[in-house]
Symmetry: C2
Subunit: 346 residues, 2 copies
């Protein structure tokens, strides 16, 4: 098959370091990749004031996939790069599935005292293009004692149904075949009702999948006390943001949490990125763990149809994680990348 | 001093069992209480269709405080009792501070493998009368493929400032004097900006308090990986709902999590309740842990100015929790209440 046309956005801080290792592993997997680097992020913002110019966005549409490190820097006003670059990519490229596996690999230390690797093995299907992330809302009488600020969650049948359908298909493909809707239907009644009705309706097409419901507060608790409860979760953009960070915490930390911003209809390239941020505090110190990025690369390969290469990368990570256990010396970013790449190359 | 005029709403399921023990301990504390029971909850809803009739709400206004067990039953459409009873009480009685201590008592088992009691000792000050709980929003073209459902978070300078001010005062009264705002300012920009500006402004009046900020997703992760980070947290209604359930999970479970719905201006009675629900699955089996309710009673006493009695109840719970450790036999609801009451009585 022809080369993968890959857009690479290393971004800021440790994003640059971890993406280097991700590309190294991709290369080791023997899949032919043609990478094009994009210098989006804090530096470009400071140099030109640009975050994601339209011509760049248009160019990005032509790629097979995007690999992103992390964006954000304390020198940029908070939210600017998040909204005008990261979220803009997710929304404009219609990444309506934000796929976040939460899996405890053998050998990985979890803060939970009593769970075993098999106890934590779920996939969160987070909606990626609407909800409270829509940017709707406003402010009146700003700066006065009469100020009022609203923030509106926008949920459409179109947007909810497509992500729910994806989640059911994902659940149907797994061993446990269980799908849990996480929401807050008892309080967010308008949005919650649309989500619940949609799940009920699509469930009829998937009789082999057991469906469940859990309020987001209870789910957050169960992530800590009974993570075994969950197989596939479908949830809204904001709840997904929160619970996947709890997921990262229980499954060994943010250094291992991978994600895919997926456009299942393939009308635009999907984007793969570690869940962690740019971590300016440790940037340039070769301390960042590139594993989350490497696992994101495995998701990228799987998305593009290279199932065997994807499995090989994931297995290499799994083996590396077992070997880390009890190791005396922490490896540098590059060393972890080298070791995993060597395993992948076989 | 004169008797405490206490309205008691046992509610449904285990609410009834735990409130009995709460009253027992209140009695043992030697504070004179004049309780009046209200049969609000599922039974009354089924019998009369009423959740919280206006005359009852008016009567409740005349009490010094309210003790609530839990409301909710599978026989009632989801959300009805939550919204038309529980949330109506919080909103109508202007409980703008939802106070939720997250404290790991010695002897209590936490799912976190490596934390010690001193590591988890925080108070979450959750806003209680606005935000996404306002009930604002709506639905268009319901049931069609063109359906759109919105859910609006309403935040006012008035509402945010009063809870932020309360949180600063609370932080100033504690040893660490640290206040963390938890929000999602990088995405929920309108509401987040109001919250952040308010914290910045009120901070000037409390130079002795160190202020910090944490996105809700990161905070949720830190509850699991570094709970030591937090002393007092101030946050919006929905984020507070979620993180206090994580708090309950890390501090020994929902059986120990107390809360106060506080009206600090005392224009209406405050209401104290365990964070847990009515747990229909174990109702009537004498299995419910009344400790959360008893700790809520301690908060009630403190709110009404009985600081010494409050401290005695909390100490009795602390001692009981140490004794539970390593006990072979689980006690029934009533036995736990008896034991704690005996300690309180001295
Ligand atoms: C950086 C931020 C906008 C983003 C989000 O909220 O989605 C991040 O937290 C994530 O989870 O990818
Ligand atoms: C029952 C529900 C409406 C309530 C809430 O969301 O506030 C509960 O979860 C709580 O935390 O007290």
């Amino acid at each position: 098959s022809s080369n993968i046309r890959l857009a690479v956005i290393p971004g800021d801080g440790i994003g640059i370091e971890v993406v280097t290792e991700g590309l190294k592993v991709l290369d080791a997997a023997g899949v032919k990749v043609e990478p094009t680097q994009y210098d989006l992020g804090a530096k470009r913002y400071h140099a030109t004031g640009e975050t994601l110019p339209d011509p760049v966005l248009d160019e990005l549409r032509g790629f097979d996939a995007i690999l992103l490190g992390a964006v954000g820097d304390p020198s940029v006003p908070p939210g600017v790069l998040e909204r005008d670059l990261l979220l803009k990519l997710r929304f404009q490229l219609d990444h309506y599935v934000n796929l976040r596996p939460v899996k405890l690999f053998p050998g990985v230390e979890t803060p939970l005292g009593k769970v075993l690797p098999g106890d934590i093995d779920m996939i969160v299907v987070r909606e990626g293009t609407e909800g409270p992330y829509a940017g709707a809302g406003g402010v009146l009488r700003k700066g006065t004692p009469q100020e009022i600020a609203t923030q509106d969650s926008v949920n459409t049948a179109y947007g909810v149904e497509r992500v729910v359908r994806y989640a059911f298909a994902k659940a149907a493909s797994r061993e446990r075949r269980k799908l849990t809707l996480v929401h807050k239907t008892n309080v967010l009644t308008f949005a919650g009702d649309l989500w619940q009705r949609t799940v009920n309706r699509v469930a009829e097409e998937f009789p082999q999948v057991a469906t469940d419901y859990c309020h987001v507060d209870a789910a957050s608790m169960f992530f800590v006390s009974q993570p075994q409860r969950f197989d596939v979760i479908v949830t809204d953009n904001l709840f997904g943001d929160i619970i996947t960070d709890i997921g990262a915490a229980i499954a060994g930390g943010i250094g291992l949490a991978a994600s895919g911003n997926v456009n299942p209809d393939r009308t635009a390239p999907s984007m793969f990125e570690p869940v962690h941020g740019s971590a300016p505090d440790i940037a340039g110190q070769h301390k960042a763990d590139p594993t989350a990025t490497i696992l994101s690369v495995a998701m990228l390969l799987d998305h593009l149809g290279f199932a065997e290469a994807s499995a090989r990368v994931e297995q290499a990570v799994a083996d590396d994680l077992v070997e880390r256990q009890g190791a005396w010396v922490a490896r540098r970013t590059r060393e972890i990348g080298d070791d995993i790449a060597a395993r992948v190359a076989g």
